[in-house]
């Protein structure tokens, strides 16, 4: 008796859950794709803003001054060994290096939205180039 009740409850729950969901987990629509892309591109845009923002560092110098269209940032080569840091580093450590030095600013936390946005932009400008981790 008790067992049947439990089974019934579970059955009922599953039915309700199934009816509430609008799609099966691994199916997504064109609409989803469009939304995800625009979410990404809006962060790319924020990244471009940070990349040209004289307030990112302390001296008014911007990333774009030395890296037009993010050229020479080579995201496809990371992680890689940087001899001056003496170890293999992810790209955001090099971004922070450039923030601290030419921009005379303060390092950003790895999770800082500006650091994420800078990476989104840098990778976007490099789209289509094949991965080549470790390359110099």
């Amino acid at each position: 008796m008790e067992r049947i009740n439990k089974f019934g409850l579970i059955f009922l729950f599953m039915t309700v859950a199934g009816a509430a969901a609008t799609a099966i987990a691994d199916e997504f629509s064109q609409q989803d794709l469009t939304r995800w892309e625009s979410e990404y591109l809006s962060v790319v845009k924020q990244g471009r803003q940070a990349f040209t923002d004289p307030e990112l560092g302390s001296n008014g110098v911007t990333c774009a001054q030395c890296h037009p269209n993010a050229a020479n940032t080579h995201p496809e080569t990371y992680p890689k060994f940087q001899k001056q840091l003496g170890r293999v580093v992810p790209i955001w450590e090099m971004i922070n290096w450039c923030i601290r030095n030419p921009l005379e600013g303060k390092s950003l936390e790895a999770s800082d939205p500006r650091l994420v946005a800078l990476q989104a932009y840098i990778y976007y400008e490099r789209r289509g180039v094949k991965l080549d981790p470790g390359k110099h």
Partner: protein
């Protein structure tokens, strides 16, 4: 025939090896049959003096210019004059032009200035003119005709009507990769002036033209470009020996188009990537160019450098002396009729840092 001056001679004579090896200048010697007519001049470019606030300027860029000026003062033999290749300021502010002029005033030589877009688009060169004189002009020196062009003009709509404020106009043009910028040009008025100026010059007289942008088309997206380059080249074509020396690109570039040799110079402020390293750019980097070494960001003055130039019998031999790299010489090869790198021109002589991607 004059003996060409080598870098070593300069360093020996200056007697300050350490300083001399690390300063961004160009020295030019013009060699003629009559050695009393030989002379040298120096070339400094793209210092981008940048005002922060109050009495603060970006230290990194200041250092580049201060060192160049100190080095030129130490040159022996002394150059007859100095050319400044443009972009003395970052946003054409009075404070920046004044600070730049102040640093340049330490030079012991007559200096000729070329207009850069970073000097111009705030007040259309008005304050710059007060400090440095006309925007374009020519002069003769010991048998060579020199021409200074203002090649960073653009169309009237963009210049006079597009932007609500002068400050915004300057900022839009200052962003190298900013799609709101506009292609550089010499323009009809100045081309007509050039045509008339050249009418008086014998076709055997060597010409040396200074411009800020390349008077050839390399990559429009970053204004490594002059829109009416072909029309300007056409005016120079009747002359036997023509050299164009330009700033703006912050990198080693050289090319030969017909009778005209082209040389880009290093900046004292920072190096720029080659357009070929932007994955989405259609560009025409001259095939002849063996690139400078890729910069090491851990050395602030790397890939800024100085060059001295021998103008041997009317042709330029350009010596790039680079802070943290081996010097480079791009000499005119009479046999091939073009400038060539003395060590790295052949594909199999190039070294890994010269690969840009």
């Amino acid at each position: 025939m004059s003996r060409l001056i080598t870098r070593r001679d300069f360093l020996k004579k200056t007697g300050v090896l350490a300083t001399a090896a690390t300063l961004p200048i160009s020295i030019v010697e013009l060699a003629f049959a009559d050695p009393t007519q030989n002379f040298t001049f120096a070339h400094i470019s793209d210092s981008h003096v940048q005002h922060i606030k109050g009495n603060q300027f970006v230290r990194n860029w200041d250092r580049g210019l201060i060192r160049a000026v100190a080095e030129v003062n130490l040159l022996n033999p002394k150059p007859d004059f100095v050319v400044y290749g443009g972009d003395l300021a970052q946003l054409a502010k009075k404070s920046e032009l004044d600070h730049g002029a102040e640093m340049m005033s330490a030079l012991n030589y007559k200096t000729y200035y070329v207009m850069g877009e970073h000097d111009y688009y705030l007040d259309l060169g008005e304050y710059w003119s007060k400090l440095f004189g006309p925007h374009y002009y020519s002069f003769d020196h010991k048998g060579v005709h020199f021409i200074v062009l203002n090649s960073i003009l653009t169309d009237d709509e963009w210049t006079y009507r597009r932007w609500p404020t002068a400050e915004q106009r300057m900022l839009e043009m200052a962003g190298l990769d900013n799609p709101n910028g506009s292609p550089f040009m010499v323009g009809e008025k100045q081309r007509e002036w050039l045509r008339q100026d050249l009418e008086k010059v014998n076709k055997d007289t060597p010409l040396v033209v200074f411009s800020h942008s390349p008077l050839q088309k390399i990559y429009k997206g970053w204004n490594f470009w002059t829109d009416d380059a072909e029309q300007v080249q056409a005016l120079l074509t009747p002359f036997k020996k023509v050299t164009v020396i330009y700033g703006h690109v912050h990198q080693i570039q050289y090319n030969q188009i017909g009778n005209i040799s082209f040389h880009g110079v290093m900046a004292t402020a920072w190096p720029w990537p080659y357009p070929s390293s932007y994955a989405h750019a259609e560009h025409y980097l001259p095939k002849l160019t063996v690139p400078m070494n890729r910069a090491d960001p851990f050395f602030e003055r790397d890939a800024t450098g100085w060059q001295f130039i021998n103008l041997a019998n009317g042709n330029v031999d350009m010596h790039y002396t680079l802070y943290d790299n081996t010097s480079r010489t791009i000499a005119f090869n009479k046999k091939n009729g073009q400038p060539e790198d003395s060590s790295y021109q052949a594909e199999d002589e190039r070294i890994p840092p010269q690969v840009h991607y």
